[in-house]
Symmetry: C2
């Protein structure tokens, strides 16, 4: 076996263990009996530890070094069928791209000292249970010491990983390879100004009638409608399934097994439908990875933000468009004739695009959502760089809410205690949610250049053409390209807020007659 | 950490990996999308390999040796709270029993050379797919070479494991610690004579009316009835769940998470009910293990035969008794009033205890079932010791069917090609099915000595008292005692066919007026 083949064998072992971790988590959310909680935690810990051991085994670093040399020798051979630089993005082979991803995995796992990693795991575990009580009791002070400890350890972790300009860059890079504070600040700065203004203008406009979406819709029929949407989008049921949970998500145990979850409630029909579009957007990206990359770091989505771009593109840009519902509102009416008697498309379209400032991020509309995210980015960056102390977080949160959305929560439960990310130590993760909106809009512009009138496609329910374009331009790359490389490949641009702002401006000016 | 604590940490890691293997298998049967098959096989292989590596790591053998010494030193201390021999069964501590089980695991995994083990895995994998086609096409000749290879490798495996008297003892011991051919032959010899005679006498008696169980019973109500039975038996739903599958089974990912499966079909109401009793019998045994033994070799059932005794005791001795249905037939009637209109208990009781020779083991009744198993034992013992060649198997099968059951299958599909065990290399496993019947009857005699009139208990539906007795006398031991030790503890006897024969004789003499 060549060094590369030996490396691949180990890398696939690690991938299988990570897939199993994901699977244990899926079962925990979907169907695990409550009494199994402790035993399951033991099982998950064993799998994580074995994966970590394999990743930090010096033998792996050695094989990586040898594989590098092997690849350079191959490239020097006259019969070599590829670019002179085997790591070049133009190269037809994928070995170089795979080695790059493996090196990244190894670096991420070896740079952070074992003590820091295990202290952080323990601190997060404690912070999460403290946070759950604190959120319930609206008691930030009870949560403060636990969060201080998590912040302190995340800073240690960032220092260990290293960075060029800003300490927060080290954490950003975990979720978005190559992304920096300066770039995020550039695009968020522009976005914030435009969004704050748009939200203010919408607030003065006439409110839509929400009667249509405030009725009771039988859960079993909602499930049929969502099944129909997923199938039309091209979700591959031979490599997936749909289950009920409390907090919906999509997860994959390799791209050969990509499972979607949803939550069906009679009194919020839109929730399940847009969750179906969102989670299936994630699932299509995963299922679109080439089969030959199974159990390697080249399969799946290239970053959290690009993944979020796929889900939010399907959920919002496509799924909340008028053209989409020109086809699907008659379908919806056929599923729910009683509830939709005499209702017209415009009323429905206005109701599903109702924009208004609110306190909870996960319930926010398409326009205000990014403001919630930017607020978190500013605050967590400040916490990590040390310009904000944890004790001052509630005040800073409320001030930012006033500045960004013009409203202030009455409790910390509705404010800085609402998200699980901070007690979980996921600093650096939040920006992906808003960047997903931007990348989605950039992608959609590129799609329109290729496909022409996408409204015409949607009007006829030809979702397959949309999926095929996304498949050919994004899904097939898997993790081979880094986010910025992919964006250049797909849209010929670097990260930009302009397409998203233009999209919102045009859509909501028309809808709210601004 | 002491050597024992270090050992325990490794043993728990191995247990967690084995539990995860079981979990991956459960999902495969219960809900895995078909397209995930190959990726799932990779995941399972990684987990098995890591578990095997941990088990055969010389460090583990070393810790075992050190733990032994540690335990002997502890026992020599005047303050030691236990028997002078820490491995004594009378000892209140469990350390010695745990070390005994670990030693057994290590032995089983280290004695067989890696080449033999992997050749056997490959041969079985091939034999299983060849067998599936051969069974479909009734083509034993196509299966013959694959089975010859499996037999050859199982003999190599048996030689590697070692034995005192008979080569087959080595394989028996894998599933039934300490059991030998001579003991099995002793009890099966006695059993065969009695059963063949009983079957002949029953054949001459009047056949029961089967009209009641040949009707259509709505699947959703069957599910409710089974849920009721499982709950009444004391199945702990907080540590389990029920799912639909093609071939029902019970499995546990530690005794904290013990899942039952079933198959509901409208035209065979008895199948699902007796499967529920059978699989829940297994589940109660698993769930009854003390929580402190989680992830150790002391939790769960002590052997396949004892496990089978628990399932078959609930399914047959309890679940096919007249007293049981004195309570549950009215319940059954309330679930299915239309189908049971005017039906009386005696008709139902006779129908669910219909005895007749048949070709397929898994569909056999309580009386003929053990004959199917003994036939397989004789043949596989002969194959392993070399007194029977694979090419002569169909003829030997048919001859034994004639001798034992008085009928001869027309095809090998209905004969020696029916079971998955041989292509899977599970030589040594079959006896457990019949031994379960014997142990179940021995256990039931002991229970009656303690509880008095069990019919009176069953007549009032007090299944909790039955479960509690089994819990206190069998479940709580987990794998601490070996099967023969447990049988002595529970019934004060060694393995015997007499209680089972007496039970059948009494029950069927009355039922068939023999």
């Amino acid at each position: 076996m060549s060094a590369y083949e030996k490396l691949l064998k180990r890398v696939k072992q690690i991938a299988c263990l990570n897939e199993i971790s994901e699977f244990l988590m899926w079962d925990l959310e979907v169907g695990m009996p409550v009494g199994a909680e402790e035993a399951r935690a033991d099982q998950s810990a064993v799998v994580s530890e074995l994966a970590h051991n394999l990743l930090t085994d010096p033998k792996l670093a050695e094989l990586l070094y040898d594989s590098d040399k092997e690849l350079m020798r191959e490239a020097a051979d006259p019969s070599y069928d590829g670019d002179a630089n085997p790591y070049s993005l133009q190269n037809r082979g994928v070995k170089g791209h795979l080695l790059r991803r493996v090196r990244r995995m190894v670096d991420q796992n070896t740079k952070v000292p074992a003590e820091v990693a295990s202290e952080l795991t323990a601190a997060c575990s404690k912070a999460q249970s403290v946070w759950m009580r604190a959120r319930k009791n609206n008691d930030f002070e009870a949560f403060r010491p636990a969060l201080e400890r998590v912040v302190e350890l995340c800073r240690k972790k960032a220092e260990a990983i290293g960075y060029k300009e800003h300490i927060y860059d080290a954490l950003l890079d975990i979720y978005e390879p190559g992304l920096t504070v300066s770039e995020v600040s550039r695009v968020f700065g522009e976005l914030r100004v435009k969004l704050v203004d748009l939200v203010k203008r919408i607030a003065k406009a006439e409110k839509p009638n929400l009667r249509l979406i405030k009725q009771e819709y039988p859960v079993s029929i909602q499930r049929q409608m969502c099944h129909r949407l997923m199938t039309d989008m091209g979700y591959d049921w031979t490599r997936g399934r749909l289950d009920d949970v409390i907090h919906p998500f999509c997860c994959s145990f390799s791209t050969r097994d990509v499972r979607v979850t949803n939550k069906f409630q009679a009194n919020v029909v839109t929730a399940a439908m847009f969750t179906a579009l969102h989670e299936t957007g994630h699932a299509l990206y995963e299922q679109g990875s080439p089969a030959e990359w199974t159990h390697t770091p080249l399969e799946g989505g290239t970053s959290m933000a690009v993944h979020e771009s796929e889900s939010r593109l399907w959920e919002n840009i496509i799924g909340r468009s008028r053209a989409f519902w020109e086809h699907y509102f008659p379908v919806f009416k056929s599923y729910f004739p009683a509830q939709t008697l005499g209702a017209d498309l415009d009323e429905f379209y206005a109701a599903i695009n109702y924009v208004t400032p609110s306190f909870i991020r996960t319930e926010a509309d398409e326009v205000t959502y990014s403001l919630h995210v930017m607020l978190r980015f500013e605050l967590e960056k400040a916490l990590i760089e040390g310009s904000l102390e944890v004790k001052d977080l509630p005040e800073a949160w409320n001030q930012a809410m006033r500045d960004y959305l013009g409203i202030v929560p009455e409790t910390d439960t509705q404010g800085c205690l609402q998200d699980v990310h901070w007690p979980s130590g996921l600093f650096g993760y939040f920006p992906a949610y808003a960047l997903g909106n931007l990348i989605g809009a950039q992608t959609f512009e590129a799609m329109k250049r290729d496909l022409g009138d996408t409204d015409e496609i949607l009007r006829h329910g030809r979702l397959g053409e949309i999926r095929q374009w996304l498949h050919d331009h994004i899904y097939v790359w898997g993790q081979r390209l880094y986010p910025a490389e992919l964006l250049r490949e797909v849209a010929g641009q670097s990260l930009s807020a302009e397409p998203f702002v233009n999209y919102l401006e045009e859509k909501y000016s028309r809808l709210y007659k601004l």
